[in-house]
Amino acid sequence: MTDIAVVSVTTAGPRRGWRSLGTWLGAAVVGITLFAAIFGPWLAPHDPFTQDLTRRLLPPFWMDGTDPAHPFGTDQLGRDYLSRLIYGARISMLIGIAVTITSGVIGIVLGVIGGFAGGKVDDAVLFAITCRLSIPVVLVALAVVGLLGSSLTLLVLTLGLLLWDRFAVVARSTTMQVRNLDFVAAAWCAGCSRGYILAREVLPNIASHLAVVATLEIALAILLEAALSFLGLGVPPPLPSWGLMIAEAKEYMFFSPWVIMIPGVALFVLVFGINLLGDGLRDLLGTGERS
């Protein structure tokens, strides 16, 4: 007889369309970059490390005096810019994902323990988060790399140890919410063990929130790696990190701005794409406004 409708007040049609366009765009950017990262050695037209001092700073294809063999030109040492860019995608994606896995494990463990246990344990977790937030990330990462010498592993570990705060905050608050839900209480009553409840009830329910955080953290890690490499204390040369490419090309940027534009735009587009994907994921999973 009468229609009983579930009214959704928030989502209007056209906005959804707009949003999904952004999500697809983000997915495309991330997909292409991942592809380039994985198949880099087969895709790159040249070896990214081979120098040719007779062919330095060749301009990219849209300018005059280009060489078709080097569509994005060459750098100050005559290395093929497109090949370096493709290998740089490997570094960025590798660091972004590895750092996020490291920081994710730390943050989620801390957050879930705090949120699940409550009381004194939770106070301790909150205190750890507060301490972490008061530490200046870039400075400490630079200092560690400066002290121990730069290497990829060290960089991943350092950033992983520094970027777990958002994971911990989100894991903690969502665990608290889930813990108070009926079905979790029911599981308690049914005599299930703590570990079982954590693994079967809590984690699946907070996973979507954590997935959204993960995208943000990948983007942040990529930006930080680029900044550290730019400052000379990130990825060791001659590895072609995009940040390092910008740093090495800096001297030439006033005469040939494209030397910093190409890796910079790549960096910007990748991070932009990851964030778009993250926003789309958040809408899709309905995990609410991120703050």
Partner: protein, 305 residues
């Protein structure tokens, strides 16, 4: 309220103590500090001399005790490279970093507040989407790269501003803009969501029922409430900005503490690095306390208690 603030103060002190320990541990990470200080060409004898001179031959716990004891009264020892008291070195550089931070924050607020209000007032419409696009762009923009682009554009092509250095107020414009850019996305989002929440509240319905003008409803009734958390977060954001200014100071060769830390890291000048980490952390903790106070002052519900 007072009890709350006292509790916060105690937590702040504990955080400072923890960071103090971490800052000490940081410099011992590399193993033998004496070898690093003496440099790559040093002989075994040199290293031993250094070890004695810097007290590195003492047990670790004694070294830690003496570092804590002196750091607590603001004595961070002497810089290996600058041959100067670290405290006075930081004291000289701090005004530049603080100026940069405040300029950055002012610019960030001047951009974020209007953008956030506009987006909330036009929620779901074109203007809102544009603002959200701007925050996404700001979030994805590598600050050092933005700095370089501004340098090319305003420094070289247009010649309006000095490219690097510390001489005049003009030197702070570009770094300030870049630093502001790092805070704009978060502050805009916060303003927007705060305004949306305020605009959907009952007291806004009352204000509309009173026949007030749109402007008065938006700026007097909604913004006043939405701004409270934004102003508080702005203080915290300033802490992040000071910590992150190292990148921007390096790009623009602005000789603040960030630049000092960068130089010192390159020169293995540990007392300076240690001290800068600690000082920045303490400033951050102080700013979060200030944020609570600001909150208490701005919100009449907290003020009374």
């Amino acid at each position: 309220m007072l009890r709350f603030l006292i509790r916060r103060l105690i937590v702040a002190l504990l955080v400072a103590a923890t960071v103090l320990t971490l800052a000490f541990a940081l410099t011992r990470l590399s193993g033998d500090l004496a070898i690093s200080i003496a440099g790559p060409n040093a002989t075994q004898q040199d290293v031993e001399l250094v070890r004695k001179a810097y007290g590195l031959d003492r047990p670790l716990i004694v070294q830690f005790g003496s570092w804590v004891g002196r750091a607590a009264v603001g004595d961070f020892g002497e810089s290996y490279f600058f041959k100067q008291r670290v405290a006075s070195l930081i004291g000289e550089r701090m005004p530049i970093t603080v100026t940069l931070g405040l300029v950055g924050l002012a610019i960030a607020l001047a951009i974020s507040l209007p953008l956030g209000v506009l987006a909330a007032a036009q929620e779901g419409r074109l203007a809102d989407r544009i603002v959200q696009g701007i925050t996404l762009i700001g979030q994805a923009m590598p600050s050092f790269w933005l700095g370089l682009i501004l340098m090319i554009l305003f420094g070289i092509r247009l010649g309006w501003l000095p490219v690097s250095g510390t001489g005049s107020w003009q030197h702070f414009v570009m770094p300030g803009i870049v630093l502001a850019f790092t805070a704009v996305p978060a502050l805009t989002r916060l303003t927007r969501s705060g305004m949306i929440q305020a605009l959907s509240s009952d007291y806004i319905r009352t204000a509309r029922a009173k026949g007030l003008s749109r402007l008065s409803i938006l700026l007097k009734h909604a913004l006043r409430n939405a701004a409270i958390p934004v102003v508080a977060i702005a203080a915290v954001q300033l802490g992040f900005m000071l910590g992150g200014s190292i990148v921007i100071e390096s790009v623009f060769a602005l000789h603040g503490v960030g630049f000092l830390a960068w130089e010192s890291i390159g020169k293995n000048d540990f007392p300076v690095v240690q001290a800068v980490v600690l000082v920045l952390a303490v400033i951050y903790v102080g700013l979060t306390l200030a944020a609570d106070l600001v909150n208490a002052v701005l919100d009449p519900r907290l003020r009374g208690q």
